[in-house]
Amino acid sequence: MKLRIKFSKKGPLRFIGHLDIMRYFQKAIRRSDIDIAYSTGFSPHQIMSFAAPLGVGVESEGEYFDIEANSVTTAEDMIARLNAEMAEGMTITGMRILPDNAKNAMASVKAASYRLNWKEGYSPEYSLSKAVSEFLSKEEVLYTKQTAKSVIERNLKEAVYELKAADERTVYMLVDASSAGNVKPGAVIECLAGFYGKTYDANAIQVTREDTFTDAPNGEGFISLGEVGENF
């Protein structure tokens, strides 16, 4: 059966990259004796799919990965067993059984919510609330990204579903996180700063992913990846 596991990643562990986090969980699952299924072949590997890769330096309260399990006990027991194997800063916060026809975590991802906080000693050089209002009032906010091969232009108004300033140093946003249209939260801040001729200083802001979302079954809006499936 398919299980979806939710975890948070904080503190020093935010400096561990995505591939290493995958390896970290493979080992943690072995240590905690979760009855995971393996692929067949000469070098069997655990059947596991991660939702959306998290950038190095970003914290998260809503990360997900799916595994195929041969047997389960209770979510409570399995969460406790995994948590006993976590490094400081990493916590398993949920586990559900997915319906057999559920799309895997990676293919499910459509949106992600982020909280961005200016760190101590830094503050935006403009009014955050005004910048957010300006963003919301515009028809179009073009963001250009230089990649190795070409220049990509994107209207962020189509990719930012929600944006609000909680106070003058905290902003919250819900953005496109699908594989085709993923938007980095820094891109939004870059545009906000750009309204006032300022630049975006990645070092000034702590980004926290609050949750990861997929399309709601009724086709209206999103639901959290953690709401798919059943408790057990």
């Binding site: 493979q26 943690a28 240590r31 330096g57 400081e88 702590q206």
Partner: protein
Amino acid sequence: MRQLALSDEILMKIEKPARYIGHEINSIVKDRNAVDVRFCMCFPDVYEIGMSHLGIQILYDMFNSFEDTWCERVYSPWPDLDAIMREEKIPLFALESQEPVKNMDFLGITLQYEMCYTNILQILDLAGIPFINEERTWEDPIVIGGGPCAYNPEPIAPFFDLFYIGEGETQYRALLDLYKKDRAAGVSRDEFLRHATNIPGIYAPACYEVSYDEQGIISEFKPKYADVPAKVRKEVETNLSDTYYPVKPVIPFIKSTQDRLVLEIQRGCTRGCRFCQAGQLYRPIRERDVEVLKQYAKELIENTGHEEISLSSLSSSDYSQLEELLLFLIDECSKKKINISLPSLRIDAFSLDIMSKIQDVKKTSLTFAPEAGTQRMRNVINKGLTEEVILDGAKLAFEGGWNKVKLYFMLGLPLETDEDIAGIGALCNEIAKVYYETVPKEKRNGRVQITASTSFFIPKPFTPFQWAPMNSQADFREKAYKTRQGIISQLNQKSIKYNWHDTDVSVLEGVFARGDRRIAKVILDAYKSGCVFDAWNEYFHYDKWLEAFDKNGLSIEFYNERERSTDEILPWDFIDIGVTKAFLKREWERAQKGEVTPNCKEKCQGCGAAVYGSGKFCFE
């Protein structure tokens, strides 16, 4: 959560920040106020290399099992972080506490290869510890070295307060106790170092003086004080089945170079290859009990979740319970979907059967280490591997479906002739011939792939070849060229690939291996002119090294190319490894006559290591 020593800005800017943040699974954090001794263990190379080393994990486990001690780790900051630390004046810090290394009581540095010597200076420099032992105060940790290169510590002697000669399991407790006692009594740092020399295996270089004759050869090497012993005897853990073993090793977040569990099955070797330093240093042979190893394997798997396990020893085929251990591992690991990475085993029916059970025959290659191209040369080096054994093994393997073979050779061995070099190509050709004769056309999975690699022979201390001259770079290049010519003249040359090593690094390694105390100045000057990470091609600057030799009036030729007289006082003569100089001399003479010395298992050769009274074959 512990505060990190590096800011977010720095961590986001450098390559692989996970090298510096600690917090790994099974790493140990203690209450700094509840311990008496802070020990920082250093592997002077980048994190991924250092984390692959079993020895540090053994000592880390041992130190942390002492209630009064907290042992942490530090590795060489990569040049990107090194530059930032210098610019922003960030002191070198230990991974666990993220506190400066300078605040520790001990800084232990493992010396696994000679080319890490400038990295030792980088560590001291970034930590803010004076380079030279005599300039240090109680404000500085006691800097102690250990590991294989400590068997000739002289080229780096001035950088260390102490060296621990031998296996770490036995005397560190005594050293820490002495430290606590002496600190409580308020003795001077120099006095403490002098007291430490009375602990077996401990060498304090500043307590000895060396004089040289007009040629530069050592004329006298003696303790400065009456209470300091003239000889330092290597320490040996006599019971490997009842000692420390890190069954909860630290698991790095990033992939280390050897990303697998390690089961050390035995120490020592009975083969007596004359070029091999480890084969002499780690005598007598000692096995770990197979039941103990099975238990370790189970616990290691449970405690780490690693997906691969490997065996470690100098010659795993010689472990008496190998079959039992491997069958157990195959069973245990298949249940848990864990790969077994086999060490290079002697190729025979048994090992091929095991390999075919756990490896994909099509992907893996077989390894032979004939080390020399002719039987005459193999007799000189006492490598008991005959052409017949190699060809029989290859035949069996080809029948089993393998078609990749790796062969290792050395160039520049003592008494080597052109015929021996030509023999390398000829042997490769014979193996290819066996393939085409053994495997019918329709069953061939492409051409047989033979890879021959040569390294340049470097004479090492405590081997029968410690007196032998080493080849010059010009000799080495010419020999590599001749080897290549020898290979391309073969009928099956299209099936043979040839690799050889760089010569510059080998030449320096030669000097560091057999050098004396005067070399320390060369190392310090080279470091000051920018040499660091010399084991890494992209950072190796041979020209700067040559300048450093010139500046100090020392010549590479003196250390490498001269044949030493057996009467000469060698820089490492003050160390007693059990194996006697008389035995090594006898072996050097036998080598010159091309005489083979049998494996200790067949007949005791009276090397002297039996003095440790523990070796299985020394005793039987």
